[in-house]
């Protein structure tokens, strides 16, 4: 331990400018970032000189999110290269340095000048946002683990196999260019269709990736400190992104879908029923995508059977097509975004991608189309109702919310509500309140009259934190409104949220996961939209 402290003290004396730079960036981040939480209007983005200073603050707040890791990059590189591991002429190689002590000293340095300031910064941000840091200690520590896996450990590993900051920077730039090149090639070729990556939520894949980076980079660091076998360490380091790509393409969550979303026993009633009843307005359509080799088919559905007090969330869809000539095609699971079916929901849609060649093969004759939905079922907890205050207010288990005024600043009148949550999005929550079609300053008999606006926020993730330099997540609540109806002339567009309007937060807890099928017999794959046919003709 004596040697560890001795090396640590030497590094602290030597790298005080780098430490100072990193601390200054972190301090500026803590000071400026909370400006992000205020609405654009409150930041002075409305007009005039205030708009300029507001934009600068907004830009700075965003820039600091990137500058904080940049400061770590410098700090990590300098301290690791202080006793560099690459080469044969370093002063410390023939001194009584124990590699474990050297590594511990470097980790202690990072603990003191990277993790501790970051931890304090994240606590200060929580306090500024109205949260008590001690209540979120597991989340804070978990976020530090994520930061370690995603930023710190890869930078430490890269420093361990390079000899200087300049060389490390060149390697990073080279890696970024290579990643761009690979992404470009993947986008331009059919080798890696878009639905093969990120097709479904991938909790297993994400955890495996994090474990791979943590173990891989950790192994590189230990191997390099213990043996200084740079070539071997480089090979191991290069293997990590290769394995990550393999994992992304292999998508283990695809294989686990039947386990995550069990196929129901036949007697069990489906939590939701889907029906395809085409009419003049609701028609299935086929559309192009950014990938010229893929098309997107959208099938409108009628929804029924969702029990009161529950929500059914279609998470993914899998498609099977059978043609009369016996040909068959199965799609992989494809993600469904932002569909939450309540007992009051009566329409929805299924959207899936299909290769152009598959589409061309099946489009000429009626087919049997089987849609299998992966569903998450959740039950409503006791709702929390608060009359909308004029200032910040706290919603238990959700966060701290702030009504946002328009830049004209009518007292007691708001246009939206911005919420903040500690370390992660809150549990899936349904929020509603009343829009008023009259000015709030007008005499109101009942603030609960008007149109009911609804918004969803949060997720079912169970991790105590999401990866972030900041410890405070913003949750802008975009309430549904009657803008569509207003445009079509079917009614006024209410635009005011008044103080005192009752606001209801209903959180949902997962009760189960399952699958349900919908088979459409004699289904004709819809023709391409006219605009797309024109584009095809032009090609």
């Amino acid at each position: 331990m004596k040697q560890v402290l001795h090396i640590f003290a030497k590094d602290t004396r030597r790298f005080w400018p780098e430490i100072l730079i990193s601390l200054a960036i972190t301090a500026a981040f803590v000071r400026i970032y909370p400006n992000q939480w205020q609405g654009m209007e409150a930041m002075g983005l409305g007009a005039g000189v205030g708009a300029v200073s507001g934009s600068i603050l907004h830009f700075l707040a965003n820039a600091l999110v990137g500058l904080v890791p940049a400061g770590w990059w410098l700090l990590i590189s300098r301290v690791i290269h202080g006793e560099r591991l690459v080469g044969h002429t370093q002063f410390w190689l023939t001194r009584p340095y124990e590699w474990k002590n050297l590594l511990t000293a470097k980790l202690l340095f990072l603990l003191a000048f990277l993790y501790l300031p970051l931890f304090i910064a994240q606590c200060l941000l929580l306090v500024t946002a109205g949260f008590h840091p001690l209540a979120y200690l597991p989340g804070l520590l978990y976020n530090l683990l994520l930061i370690t896996g995603i930023i710190v450990l890869p930078l430490v590993a890269l420093s361990a196999v390079t000899s200087s900051f300049a060389k490390m920077t060149l390697v990073l730039l080279g890696a970024a260019l290579l990643a761009l090149l690979i992404a470009g090639i993947a986008a331009l070729t059919t080798y890696m269709p878009s639905h093969t990556t990120g097709s479904v939520a991938s909790p297993v894949g994400d955890r495996l990736s994090l474990a791979l980076v943590l173990c891989g980079c950790g192994a590189v660091v230990v191997l390099q400190y213990a043996l200084r076998k740079t070539t071997r360490s480089w090979l191991l380091l290069i293997a990590i992104p290769v394995l990550l790509c393999t994992l992304a393409i292999g998508d283990p969550d695809q294989a686990l879908m039947n386990r995550t979303y069990p196929i129901p026993v036949s007697s069990a009633a489906a939590p939701v029923q889907f029906q395809y009843v085409p009419d003049q307005i609701q028609q299935a359509i086929t559309d192009t995508t950014h990938d010229s080799n893929e098309l997107e088919i959208n099938i409108p559905l009628r929804v029924s059977g969702v029990a009161d007090g529950t929500v059914v969330i279609p998470e993914a869809v899998k498609v099977a097509i059978d043609a009369p000539d016996g040909s068959h095609w199965d799609s992989p699971w494809q993600a469904i975004y932002n569909q939450r079916l309540l007992s009051s929901t009566d329409v929805s849609h299924a959207e899936f991608r299909v290769g152009r060649a598959i589409y061309d093969k099946f489009k000429s004759a009626p087919v049997a189309l089987r849609l299998t939905f992966a569903l998450t079922l959740a039950k409503a907890e006791a709702p929390t109702q608060v009359p909308l205050p004029a200032t910040d207010f706290s919603v238990p288990k959700f966060g701290v919310c702030t009504p946002q005024s328009s830049w004209l600043q009518f007292p007691g009148e708001f246009t939206s509500v911005n919420c903040k949550a500690a370390l992660r999005q809150p549990k899936l929550t349904f929020v509603n309140l009343h829009w008023s079609s009259t000015r709030c300053s007008a005499a109101q008999s009942d603030p609960a009259t008007g149109m009911l606006g609804a918004a969803w926020a949060g997720s079912f993730d169970i991790d105590p934190a999401e990866f972030g330099i900041t410890s405070v997540w913003q949750i802008p609540l975009y309430f549904s409104n009657n803008w569509e109806g207003y445009r079509k002339g079917s009614g006024p567009a209410p635009r005011h949220i008044c103080a005192g309007s009752p606001m209801t937060f209903t959180q949902y807890s997962v009760t189960g996961r399952t699958q349900t099928d919908l088979t459409l017999q004699d289904f004709h794959l819809p023709g391409l939209a006219i605009g797309d046919q024109y584009l095809l003709m032009m090609k």
Partner: protein
């Protein structure tokens, strides 16, 4: 007694280049062993293998009884290493460097440190990066001698230094010699001749010989045979006779296996008509030049002959 440094068929290859080829070496404790050879002969590679900076391709080495591949950490508290190519913590002052190194060594002698600072006239408050090469070397010596290491390993320590600095460093080294083993590499024969007890000669990665300086001095003689009349170069000369040449009535060669008792008699028997036979001791430089010019074949032959002689 275990040698301070021992190697067994130690070899190192860089790609297809053989830098060190089957080195067998034993440096006794207390010796001042000088490894000499031309630039590129493999001296630095051997030292880097001994210090576990390079792993050997084959064979093994032991340093202070420890397998060189396991030499790390605490073991270096007994070894002082100075190399012309070694980096130093340039951002530190000479004083800060000594302060920094001190706690690493349980045997660090503050009095000796002060003595070395005075002896080398070290400017403690100047950063190492601002010191001259000679001054840097002095700082490196001070930081490697102050803990009274059991073994001092020096890789071309005097290369490029002015004679004054070189003498100061040699003096500092000699003062430590009674309590330590010194292993150094050099291509400057004159500088090592004055204080080395043992010497090894390396050529193209192979050790041509390795022995005590006194033994080496005794077995090499420049032999001059003066004959009555001019005669051609005799045939079937022993392999231990290096660089034979004749000029008029004089036949000269370097005897690499000279024996004070038997060699004069053998020479007299070989040259019965000789008017005079003189056997003059040779300086180290002449010995190495003779060996280098003759090449490794003769030296190998000598080794074989010597081995036979030893066995007999």
């Amino acid at each position: 007694m275990n040698p301070a440094v021992g190697t067994h068929n130690l070899s190192k290859q860089f790609g297809r280049t053989v830098a060190v080829d089957g080195l067998n070496l034993a440096v006794p404790e207390g010796a001042i062993y000088a490894m000499v050879g031309a630039n590129g002969a493999g001296k630095t590679t051997i030292i880097k293998m001994l210090m576990n900076i390079y792993p050997p391709t084959a064979g093994r080495a032991e340093v202070l009884g420890i397998d060189s591949r396991k030499l790390a950490g605490e073991a270096f508290a007994r070894i002082g290493y100075v190399s012309e190519n070694q980096e130093m913590p340039d951002w530190m002052t000479a004083g800060a460097m000594l302060d920094y190194y001190r706690p690493f060594y349980p045997t660090w002698d503050r009095a000796l440190e002060q003595q070395l600072i005075r002896q080398f006239d070290l400017p403690l408050d100047r950063k190492l990066k601002h010191l001259s090469r000679g001054m840097k070397m002095k700082a490196a010596f001070a930081s490697s001698l102050a803990y009274r290491p059991s073994l001092i390993v020096l890789d071309e320590p005097f290369s490029g230094l002015d004679p004054l600095v070189r003498d100061e460093l040699i003096e500092g080294l000699i003062e430590r010699a009674p309590e330590t083993t010194i292993f150094l590499s050099s291509h400057d024969l004159a500088e090592i001749e004055t204080f080395s007890s043992h010497v090894g000669y390396l050529e193209q990665g192979r050790l041509l010989f390795s022995e005590e300086m006194s033994v080496l001095g005794n077995r090499f003689r420049e032999v001059t045979v003066t004959l009555d009349s001019p005669s051609p170069l005799p045939e079937n000369l022993p392999l231990t006779w290096l660089q034979p040449q004749t000029a008029d009535c004089v036949f000269r060669f370097v005897h690499s296996g000279f024996n004070e008792e038997s060699s004069p008699r053998e020479l007299a028997e070989r040259f019965p008509a000789a008017r005079d036979i003189s056997c003059d001791p040779m300086p180290l430089r002449s010995i190495f030049l003779a060996v280098a010019k003759t090449g490794r074949d003769h030296a190998s032959a000598y080794d074989q002959a010597k081995a036979k002689g030893d066995a007999a």
